[in-house]
């Protein structure tokens, strides 16, 4: 069984839609700026990555608007685009072979805050009936399922910022169990006062007002991250079923995966990211020397940066593999971050290019070959994507080039590099 990706839909702070995201990402164009979704001027953190130019009513029927949080609307549109990209039509006969697995970190906080404010200020009769589900972790999965008639095994994975990779891995597991197609990935975001204070309480959010220095992973100046909204939805199919469906293009394969959980802090046992990397490579049957690029978690918290750099150099050697963190252009998308990096890895394979890490100057002692400045032309066949979640989650996912790609088709190259 191979799990192949046949459709991608990206909604990111530096691009609405896969093409816009990828062009911006290869060119080093960022989407970080002052918070606009609410007045954050009195909060300790005031920068965010917000998806530009998104008007939900241009993409969705009014029937869906009163019952959806902003991040669910983004997810529905990303799913529409991913399914269209994969050439998947609504098919009642295949409904039970097709499911939805997304990741979430908090749910629809902007929606629930509005309704709770109505409860406190006006009374219970002013609370929307849709409050009964619109803020759930699983709401994006449910809405994507209903809108597209996908009735196979479905669910949500909640493992903070590692969740997006864990969801794609769960999709792969369900393909092994007989499903033919999964809509997977994650779109997340809670840029509202309630979501904001929850993120601040984790102590990892940057309080800088300067987009140039607010999110600098692997840099001496690293002081937390910029929270952001968005994510990516992927169509993941059984390779054989995709061929039978007559799929025109395959971006690549979800070739390997592993997840570990860190020991309790302060008990002296080492962190376990390195074990996740080794186990994911083993699951893919891939040697470290075959990996062409690592998409790093890039926490921008000095201790976490050090742990990740040590894990990468332990497996790949000092300066042993190109490492990049295009999320420096978007901020951290929480459960949406991993899937966007998977999308970027697949597009790196397609266009033979590694997008850059912007602004960071890596600490020499980390011994990382961080791709900085501009995109680097590399014939990527295998990529490793890392994601970590608050509380000890570590996930590693191996993305591979399409196998037996004998179509000879040359992709339109969207990234221009000077290297």
């Amino acid at each position: 069984m191979t799990a192949v990706v046949t459709g991608i839909g990206v909604v990111a702070p530096n691009g609405l839609g896969t093409d816009d995201y990828w062009k911006a990402t290869c060119a080093g164009v960022d989407g970080i700026g002052p918070v606009r979704r609410f007045d954050a001027s009195t909060y300790p953190a005031r920068l965010a990555g917000e998806v530009p130019g998104f008007e939900a009513s241009e993409h969705l029927p009014s029937r869906l608007l009163p019952q959806t949080d902003h991040m669910t609307r983004l997810a529905l549109v990303a799913a529409d685009w991913a399914l269209a990209d994969a050439g998947v039509d609504r098919d009642p006969e295949a409904a039970f072979e097709r499911g939805v697995i997304t990741a979430s970190s908090v749910g629809g906080f902007e929606f629930v805050q509005r309704e709770l404010q109505a409860l406190w200020t006006k009374g219970s009769e002013y609370v929307s009936a849709y409050q009964s589900f619109a803020w759930f972790y699983a709401v994006n999965t449910g809405q994507i399922s209903i809108r597209n008639g996908l009735k196979g095994p479905s669910g949500v994975v909640v493992s903070e910022q590692a969740g997006g990779l864990d969801a794609v891995a769960q999709a792969r597991r369900l393909l092994r169990k007989g499903s033919k197609l999964l809509v997977s990935g994650g779109v997340d975001g809670s840029i509202c006062p309630w979501g904001w204070v929850a993120q601040l309480s984790g102590g990892r959010v940057s309080t800088s007002d300067d987009p140039e220095t607010a999110y600098l992973p692997f840099d001496e100046r690293a002081a937390g991250h910029v929270p952001a909204e968005g994510g990516a939805i992927l169509v993941v199919e059984d390779g054989e079923a995709a061929r039978e469906r007559g799929v025109a293009k395959v971006y690549g394969e979800i070739a390997g995966y592993a997840a570990t959980f860190d020991p309790k802090p302060g008990i002296g046992r080492p962190p376990t990211l390195v074990r996740a990397i080794r186990a994911a490579l083993a699951d893919a049957g891939t040697e470290p020397g075959e990996v062409d690029v690592v998409f790093a978690d890039a926490a921008a918290v000095p201790e976490l940066d050090r742990v990740e750099a040590e894990a990468i150099t332990e497996v790949f050697g000092a300066h042993g593999v190109p490492v990049t963190a295009p999320k420096t252009m978007t901020g951290r998308l929480y459960a949406g971050g991993g899937p966007v990096d998977v999308a970027a890895a697949l597009l790196s394979i397609r266009d033979k290019v590694i997008p850059p890490t912007t602004r960071s100057r890596p600490v020499p002692g980390y011994h990382l070959d961080l791709v900085t400045g501009q995109a680097r032309g590399v014939a990527v066949r295998t990529a490793l994507v890392l994601a970590r979640g608050h509380g000890g989650f570590n996930s590693a996912l191996v993305v591979g080039a399409p196998r037996n790609d004998t179509t000879g088709r040359s992709w339109e190259k969207q990234c221009r590099t000077r290297s």
């Binding site: 029937r63 869906l64 009163p66 019952q67 009769e125 929307s128 009936a129 849709y130």
Partner: protein, 86 residues
């Protein structure tokens, strides 16, 4: 609400405000005898509609009084016969 009767247009407005409408449904058409289910509204949409009508028109209404199996004509009859809220 003893004299002013709720009309189909009132109901249309409340439906739109509370639950929107599907792409392929013409709410402005002849819908009096089409069930809410056929118009794309589920039980939750009817719960939301009933709650909005109850608070806006001061009508006493049980939570489960309006169902997706009803038609707009049946719901309007029910609403116009209902007692005003105390």
């Amino acid at each position: 609400m003893s004299d002013a009767q709720l009309t189909l247009d009132d109901l249309r407005r409340v439906l739109l405000e509370g639950s929107g409408t599907d792409e392929d449904v013409d709410l402005g058409g002849d819908i009096l005898d089409t069930t809410f289910e056929e118009l794309g509204y589920d039980s939750l949409a009817l719960l939301e509609t009933a709650a909005r009508i109850s608070r806006e028109y001061r009508i006493e209404l049980d939570d489960d009084a309006a169902t997706a199996e009803m038609t707009p004509r049946e719901l309007l009859d029910l609403l116009n016969a209902a007692a005003p809220r105390p």
